[in-house]
Amino acid sequence: MIEVKYFGAVAEKTQCSFENVVSSNISLQDLLQDLEEKYRFESLSFSVAVNQKIVSKATNYTLKTSDIVALLPPFAGG
């Protein structure tokens, strides 16, 4: 199981602050593709972290079951 955390406006779209994705051998790119299809983030931009480290969305990384992915959009309030 891979844990996916959502923040800010992304969490508003997903209507949850985290969820567990049951997949094995899925690449980060494919996971993001699946989430995009499910939630339609569209113009909402965000950075992606794997295990507390921001990574390139285009990275060729195959997620492990213990990985924690986070979607971090920029905030603008102040």
Binding site: A9, S43, S47, K53, I54, A70, F75, A76, G77, G78
Partner: protein
Amino acid sequence: MNTSSRYNRQVILSEIGENGQYKLLKSKVLIIGAGGLGTAILPYLAAAGVGEIGIVDDDVVELSNLQRQVIYKSSSVAKYKVDEAKAMIAELNPDVKVNAVAEKLSGKNAIALFEKYDIIVDATDNLQIKYLINDACQVTNKPMVYGSIFRFQGQVSVFNYQNGPTYRCLYPDENSSSVNCTDAGVIGISVGIIGLLQANEVIKMILETGEILSGKILVYNILNNEQQKYDFEKNSSFLIDKIVFEKKYKIVENIVNEIDAEAVLNEMDSEEILFLDVRNENERPKINFKNKIQIPLMNLENELEKLNSTQTIYVYCQSGIRSKMAVELLQKHQFKNIKSIVGGALALKELLKGERIKI
């Protein structure tokens, strides 16, 4: 140094001491935005004795600000935020010099403003201006203390600290959108907490103590008190230098290079510099430079072959107007090291007091 009893409770901290207090009093911090974050940061920096604080904001106080911008009073409504903030700090701590800048930050004023301070604090509420602050911090080589809010969540980080990662390394997509407090709603406590975390980073940088949130973004959720730090790395493809900055923010490129008449006095006998008089033959006073040539402005374009495009050339005329036009013309023809003497021959005559002058 008289730190008196005002700072006693922090001076007795071994991390601060007299030396740390001296650093605080010597430091200069610029806060962009006098809204929720800015008004949380400002009184704490001022109370701690940060010696000089600039505040940039062109807004006036509105009634709907008061629920979170707690330094303003009901009687502040309709007055400039920066003026109200300055008055508040004057009462809180007269040691602090406050510079109230009632302007909107733009590509035109950012660089000159940032150069006067050691640390730049982003307390703004829109994404475009965060990119501007980031870029101007890179050009001026200043650290940027970032904070922002989305409802009950906040982010804090320090960019461009000792050549560390920048806002663009974290969020490369400049065209993204995110709602601000006006549209999303916010409670004063969120901006208060995030603003104080920013103030804390400022103080740590000045004192050179603790760990700075450089290359890390802190995400705080006040509803469940969860906080996480995420690491990110520097990406050199997002480097912004002065040329890129000026192009991006469309600052007028035709800045005419000028030199003060006073600065010219020591160089009148220089072999390296050619003094170009663009007045007509009959104009007086004549000035005796070691290395000089006269080409009237109207002939200049046709007589460029008399000049070397890589040589340092100081151009002058009677008062400094034609020489500016000459500089623009020469720059168009790829001349590299051209300056116009401010005030022209008349200014030089004044300074030379009759020496080397033929009237």
